[in-house]
């Protein structure tokens, strides 16, 4: 191995990258197929169910589309938001915590504000969620800018703090705890009043939630924001080199705090929409988007359209693996997770191989 070392490939050949992705995915599906076969399951049938998100032979196929969109929307918005902060080289891994505080705030509004019409209630919920999450992000950015604290550590710890807060709320049966279902002797999160539960546009049986439309609008908004506004330009300069930004007369601290506020507020919006469309909250309300979003943002190379497409693919993978496993009593969701992991790992490996190559040392010197 001493004779070889890794070299970044010169020139970005798109064709090569695509071939690598294709090979990576095929290899992972092949490994999965062998595993499935060894368990006595027809891999073609399994993959068919997986990639069609369980809609083949489904009595209520539209429900699966609804379920899929409910998984997609929070992941999409969170990935976009995380991409925003990563572009600035601000390592915000607190997506989970920011999501949770947003969901809790939305629930506070849902349970306490009554008598308002539905759109207004939901708007208030989303605003509360965005404000609380945004302030949490601002808090982290402030300490980063002011005292140069390590944002990775701070955001990571915030995840756990918020997780324990929501667990406490969900497990504490006390009179003050309006989050819980008053009718249940055991502590269990209550259901929001009707006015706080999101509806959508009915297309036949299919219910297109407003959150989907908001998410699509957000893609366009962030794309324009990053590409055509002064703010977007500032973010990319700060990401490239904060010294350059300073030299050009930009207020780096302000830009970092502002962007973190926007980024976290978007995650808060995702949380508000999720809480409202589920009609309740729980410890697992995030569906791990704070973590998955990091993968999505990087797989999408921080480009807005690519993040959008990647989050769709990852959601298909997540939702599809789980629904496919339903039909086969011998495999559980752990197997679905395993398969997902194999596929993701292969894509990342393919990405790595497409970017780097092994070269002999002498060659490297000459090059």
């Amino acid at each position: 191995m001493k004779k070889y070392h890794l070299v970044r490939r010169s020139g970005q050949s798109l064709a090569r990258r695509l071939v690598y992705y294709l090979i990576g995915i095929l290899i992972s599906l092949g490994i999965g197929a062998v595993l499935l076969w060894s368990l006595g399951i027809n891999p073609f049938e399994f993959y068919g169910r997986m990639l069609s998100i369980g809609m083949i032979g489904n009595k209520y196929a539209y429900k699966n589309v609804e379920g899929f969109l409910k998984i997609l929307v929070p992941l999409l918005i969170t990935s976009l938001a995380l991409g925003l902060s990563f572009k600035m080289r601000f390592w915000n891994i607190g997506g989970e915590g920011e999501f949770l505080i947003g969901a809790i705030s939305a629930a506070v509004v849902a349970f306490t504000v009554t008598g308002l019409p539905r759109p207004l209630t939901i708007l208030l919920m989303c605003l509360a969620a965005m404000l609380s999450s945004g302030l949490l992000g601002l808090f982290v950015a402030f300490f980063k800018v002011k005292f140069n604290t390590n944002e990775t550590l701070v955001t990571l710890m915030i995840n756990y703090i918020m997780l324990y807060v929501i667990t406490y709320l969900g497990k504490t049966k006390e009179d003050w705890n309006f989050f819980l279902d008053p009718k249940s002797a055991r502590p269990i999160f209550g259901k929001f009043p009707e006015a706080a539960i999101m509806d959508g546009i009915k297309i036949g049986n299919f219910n297109l939630l407003w959150s989907v439309i908001i998410a699509v609008a957000l893609i366009v908004f962030i794309y324009v924001y990053l590409k055509y506004t002064k703010h977007g330009y500032e973010i990319s300069v700060v990401g490239d080199s904060s010294a350059t930004a300073k030299y050009a007369g930009m207020k780096v601290g302000r830009i970092v705090m502002r962007t973190m506020f926007i980024s976290s507020a978007m995650i808060g919006l995702a949380a508000g929409l999720t809480a409202s469309s589920s009609g309740t909250i729980s410890e697992t309300v995030t569906n791990n988007v704070g973590w998955t979003g990091i993968v999505v943002a990087w797989l999408g190379k921080l480009s807005v359209p690519a993040i959008a497409v990647t989050s769709v693919l990852i959601s298909i993978l997540q939702f599809g693996c789980k629904t496919a496993a339903t039909k086969y009593p011998s495999i559980d969701s752990n197997f679905a997770d395993l398969l997902q992991g194999i596929i993701l790992f292969s894509v990342l490996t393919a990405d790595f191989c497409a970017t780097f190559t092994l070269k002999k040392k002498e060659d490297a010197k000459n090059a």
């Binding site: 992705y21 990639l51 049966k173 269990i188 690519a306 497409v309 559980d332 752990n334």
Partner: protein, 424 residues
């Protein structure tokens, strides 16, 4: 360029999707057409419906929502999965074909609803949810899918048409295990009995279990003291271990009962040379020198009943099965076979108590106490009128009074009976 990359990624997924779809149709259509004929009426048209019709049982599908995985080898989900698969075999269903499972579903309404949608879409006729927190989602979805029977373990909600709840009188089995513990405590001349419990008085389920076990032990050894250690989680092997160690080392307990997922308390008892009563499954294999007998569930008793009723006439499910709460009489709960560690009197005493409960002449939480006496071969029981008191001395049932209501046992019991103390 990055856009292009992602576009092609999509294309790759789409292509592999098509490949696998066509493969699926070519290879598996004949095999699945019988089972999914209902679903295909709406989606695939009449193409496959011409294949031979299967017997009615082939159309009946069972859906299950689990809190853990069906591949667990012990614990709560394991016990239910075993019950469902055995129950299916009893009514002529094939668990490898007719059973649809969504596993690892947390107590999160949104996730439970999605699981139900999936199972409904796959054509399930009855859906079992085994965890308490599924309650609101199941209640809501029962209205949305009136053709599907919804059945919820440990809950309290139901409707008149297609939604019931089910649970069992496990306290009866614990009373029997308590008898075994009581005889052991007499034999080793140590009145201290330990009990590792997931929760204490917060949940009627754990609370009634502790009380049942305590009354069983004290029916043999009136001086027995039950020390409860609460671990505040349904299952955590390390905490279960530590709790058992504390009970044995600090409180000098000679027998360890338990209400938690793993066999760790029994294993600790085995290591320390004391005795114990397990839960959920016969733990004699894990603790050969310590284990006496365990309070066990036999869920298939319920599952077979429920599936049979739903297959025969789902319209009358709520009158034939209804909200199901049975015990020793239905074989839903029992004690595991007594190990050779048990005292010789145990089997006789357990049989006497069991017969009394099965016949309905006596139940655990009443104003009548059982008092066992006599040596092996001549064990006698006296039914003594004696008030049921909590450990503060407050009377709950007057001497000679009838048993507390099922709603108390299942829902509002929040006191320990005489002889029980919680140590933490």
């Amino acid at each position: 360029m990055k856009k292009l990359v992602s576009l092609v990624l999509t294309a790759v997924f789409a292509v592999s999707c098509c490949i696998s779809l066509s493969g699926c149709q070519a290879q598996t259509a004949p095999a699945t057409s019988g089972a999914t004929s209902k679903a295909e009426e709406t989606t695939a048209g009449s193409k496959e419906s011409e294949s031979e019709a299967k017997p009615a049982a082939g159309d009946f599908k069972v859906g299950a929502i689990y809190i853990n995985s069906q591949n667990d080898t012990s614990g709560y989900t394991f016990a239910h999965h075993k019950g469902i698969t055995e129950g299916m075999k009893q009514v002529g269903l094939d668990p490898s074909k007719d059973l649809y499972i969504v596993d690892n579903v947390p107590e999160d309404d949104e996730k439970v609803k999605q699981a139900i949608d999936q199972l409904a879409g796959d054509g399930c006729n009855i859906i079992f949810g085994i965890s308490f927190g599924y309650i609101n989602a199941m209640n809501e979805k029962a209205t949305e899918y009136p053709d599907i029977i919804f059945s919820h373990a440990t809950g309290y909600m139901s409707n008149e048409k297609n939604f019931n709840n089910y649970f069992g009188r496990i306290y009866q089995a614990r009373f029997l295990a308590g008898i075994a513990a009581g005889y052991k405590s007499l034999a080793i001349k140590n009145d201290n009995i330990g009990y590792v419990s997931a929760w204490g008085t917060e949940y009627a389920e754990t609370c009634s279990g502790i009380n049942g076990f305590a009354l069983g032990a004290r029916s043999v050894n009136p001086n027995a003291k039950i020390h409860v250690y609460e671990i505040s989680t349904w299952g955590d092997q390390e905490k279960e271990r530590q709790a058992a160690q504390v009970l044995i080392d600090t409180y000098k307990c000679g027998v360890i009962g338990q209400h938690c997922d793993s066999a760790q308390p029994q294993i600790v008892a085995n290591e320390k040379g004391v005795f114990g009563c397990g839960y959920n499954s016969d733990m004699t294999a894990e603790a050969p020198k310590a284990h006496l007998c365990a309070a066990i569930w036999n869920w298939s008793a319920y599952y077979a009943t429920a599936m049979k009723a739903a297959m025969t006439d789902k319209g009358s499910f709520m009158t034939t099965v209804g909200n199901y709460y049975q015990g020793l009489n239905a074989g839903l709960v029992d004690v595991s076979p007594l190990s050779s560690n048990c005292e010789p009197e145990t089997a006789e005493a357990i049989k006497i108590a069991k017969d009394l409960m099965i016949s309905g002449k006596w139940d655990v939480f009443s104003g009548v106490k059982l008092v066992f006496s006599g040596k092996a071969g001549a064990v006698a029981v006296e039914q003594k009128n004696d008030a049921l008191k909590d450990n503060q001395g407050a009377e709950k049932v007057a001497a000679g009074g009838a048993s507390v209501g099922d709603d108390v046992i299942q829902g509002s019991m929040n006191y320990y009976v005489e002889g029980v103390t919680q140590v933490n």
